[in-house]
């Protein structure tokens, strides 16, 4: 189990700038989504990824458009980083026409098959077996894409974690597992509910090499992900990446997170992945104006996206009966008088 923490020596500034832009887009999207939730325009639960943006961009910048991605309830950032349209995503969160899934899935099922993002999931750890299966299909089809599953540290206590990882090892499949270790499973500290050393040790006990990185250091995530994606794509079998991070917001947009002692969150803000990336870029000579412009551009984009979504029409109610299955018309069954 290797540890990567120090920023990599051979830095590609343009690439780091790209991360910085993208992380700001994710943050601004989440802030707009939280606003929409407070405005009661998003009724269902949303799970912001503020503080974890470096994992989304660090991993996804190393993926091709046709690489499959399966995510969790906290999937906005992953989906954006995979290349989904922010406007369509926001419409989905507001349940409007033009949503990525026509408003039928919402935040917890956000997906954009056009960029091979096969869905967030409302069931913790359920995406692990699905990703294993996508990787299985890749192997059967002799393709050179890979399948990626991103999940949290709470997910490692569910059976599918063992079954899905073992599956990819036994069938030698092109799968990358990414564990976002933010220390919490909703209101509970995961260390209190997790036996043994944690995710990496569990993956290795199943024969899957694991790497652990500072998930708030986008350069470190990028470097580790690049290496692992390369190994997986070249037929090396499954790999596991643990990213240590912290959730800077509540579990949901409506969670005050009172279960965290005073100061803990403030201190964690000192480790904000975006600020760290900015400081590093400044060191490398990128101007503060440029860096600031990434933030303002992202905020303007997402403000517009939110504005557009709130003005978008509701989906046609006929859609409620569409895409259930090819046979039988559900209208026949219900509310006949």
């Amino acid at each position: 189990m290797s540890e990567t923490t120090a920023p990599p020596r051979n830095v590609d500034v343009a690439r780091l700038v790209e991360h910085h832009r993208q992380m700001h887009r994710i943050r601004a999207f989440e802030e707009a989504a939280i606003q929409a939730s407070h405005d009661k325009l998003v009724l269902g639960a949303i799970h912001p990824s503020i503080g974890q943006e470096a994992i989304a961009t660090g991993v996804c910048l190393n993926l091709r458009r046709d690489d499959y991605l399966l995510s969790t309830h906290r999937g906005h950032g992953h989906t954006l980083a995979k290349g989904a349209d922010a406007g369509a995503m926001m419409c989905e969160l507001l349940g409007r026409a033009g949503g990525t899934s026509q408003g039928k899935g919402g935040s917890m099922h956000i997906a954009d098959v056009g960029v091979s993002m096969l869905g967030a999931n409302g069931v913790v750890a359920a995406n692990i077996n699905i990703a294993a299966g996508a990787a299985h299909a890749i192997k059967l089809r002799r393709e050179d894409r890979i399948a990626v599953s991103i999940f949290g540290d709470g997910a490692i206590n569910r059976g599918p974690f063992l079954e899905g990882l073992n599956w990819t090892k036994v069938f030698d499949l092109p799968a990358l597992f990414v564990c976002e270790d933010n220390g919490f499973a909703s209101t509970t500290r995961t260390d209190a509910m997790t036996g043994g050393p944690g995710p990496a040790a569990r993956a290795e006990s199943l024969g899957i090499p694991a790497t652990t990185v500072d998930g708030n250091d986008v350069a470190a995530v990028d470097e580790a992900a690049r290496a692992l994606v390369g190994e997986v794509r070249s037929g090396g079998g499954p790999r596991f990446l643990v990213c240590r991070t912290y959730r800077l917001t509540g579990h949901t947009a409506s969670d005050p997170a009172a279960y965290r002692p005073d100061g803990e969150v403030e201190e964690a803000w000192g480790n904000d992945p975006i600020a760290r990336c900015a400081a590093y870029l400044a060191e490398l000579g990128v101007s503060t104006d440029d860096l600031e412009s990434h933030r303002t551009a992202a905020q303007e984009e997402m403000a517009g996206v939110y504005e557009a979504a709130r003005n978008a029409p509701w989906p046609d109610t006929a859609l409620a009966y569409a895409d259930v299955q090819d046979i039988a018309d559900p209208r026949e069954e219900a509310f006949r008088w």
Partner: protein
């Protein structure tokens, strides 16, 4: 008589049983912080973390460990958080909990309560909105409870905790805040005894859980048209109070069974089939079932509304039945 919410009633029912019997304990994710819907608030302070226990995200272990803990002499109350997540622990509930007493020829029993918050609750989408109560009525060995009021949640949860057999206990997410009077001196409610919510002579509406309140509203609207509706809340689906339903339908001659769950394969079919068989000849009109269309539950509010058994839909069906 105390006024409390449906959630508070569940909480004090659990607390009173925990005071009464030291072998009663509850386990589930985030119970230490009061549970997702606050239905355990303050209990860990009162009973400590051993008896109000957090759990890893391990539904199969929560359910399976409860089976073992029940076999070994305790009375666990397991919290599934959402009825949908109980689908991660179906082997433990159906193949183990429900059958163990029988398969072992009565050598032991499995006294446990499985709390499953059910139903549609503001844009929770297809994996957080399901009502699957009918599944469990089909499984020998299980009791199925579906309380609709604070008083019933108080009375039925206590009965469930005292039951020596596993009870699948559905609380509806949309009525956690519903207030009502509770007689805290009352005995636990017996299983299989329905509640006549409202008396009437023209038509009987059988419902359970949150749909009882929809049926009640519909019957008020119908009363304005001079249609007299009797509303019956089954309270438990297994056992269910056939006699009460038969008696009412003998009087009214007409029956609507309304539930939030999908109509196809729903428990409304069991009620309709049983009444149609037993009261053949007595019925003045065919038994009408009202349930959700066979579609997953959408996230967008207008699409989500398409599956709802509303006051209007019940009233429309009632008028059609009486036309």
């Amino acid at each position: 008589m105390v006024v409390m919410t449906y959630a508070e009633a569940g909480k004090s029912a659990l607390a009173s049983e925990m005071h009464r019997d030291p072998m009663v304990w509850a386990v589930g994710e985030d119970l230490g912080r009061g549970g997702v819907f606050g239905q355990y608030k303050g209990l860990v302070e009162e009973f400590g973390p051993e008896r109000i226990s957090d759990a890893p995200i391990s539904e199969a272990a929560i359910m399976g460990a409860a089976v073992g803990a029940a076999m070994a002499g305790t009375r666990p109350v397991v919290e599934m958080r959402f009825a949908d997540f109980a689908l991660c622990a179906v082997d433990e509930l159906i193949n183990q909990a429900a059958k163990a007493r029988y398969m072992l020829g009565g050598q032991l029993r499995v006294p446990m309560v499985i709390r499953e918050p059910m139903g549609i609750w503001r844009s929770s989408a297809a994996q957080h909105s399901q009502s699957l109560e009918s599944w469990y009525t089909h499984i020998p060995g299980l009791v199925v409870a579906v309380p609709s009021t604070p008083a019933d949640n108080w009375g039925l949860l206590r009965a469930a905790i005292r039951s020596d057999d596993p009870v699948v206990y559905f609380e509806h997410k949309n009525i956690w805040g519903l207030e009502g009077e509770v007689d805290t001196d009352a005995e636990p409610l017996p299983f299989g005894v329905a509640r006549t919510v409202r008396e009437g002579t023209d038509l009987t509406i059988v419902a359970w859980s949150a749909t009882v309140h929809v049926a009640e509203k519909a019957s008020e609207a119908l009363a304005n048209d001079g249609i007299s509706v009797e509303v019956i809340d089954l309270r438990t689906l297994w056992p269910w109070d056939k006699e009460a339903v038969f008696a009412s339908v003998r009087k009214t001659g007409r029956l609507i069974v309304a539930h939030e769950s999908v109509a196809v394969g729903g428990f409304g079919g069991e009620v309709a089939a049983t009444v149609s068989e037993h009261l053949f000849g007595t019925l003045k009109a065919p038994v009408k079932r009202l349930g959700a269309p066979r579609i997953p539950i959408s996230y967008a509010p207008p699409l989500e509304d398409e599956v709802r058994v509303t006051e209007d839909r019940i009233a429309t069906a009632a008028r059609a039945l009486l036309a």
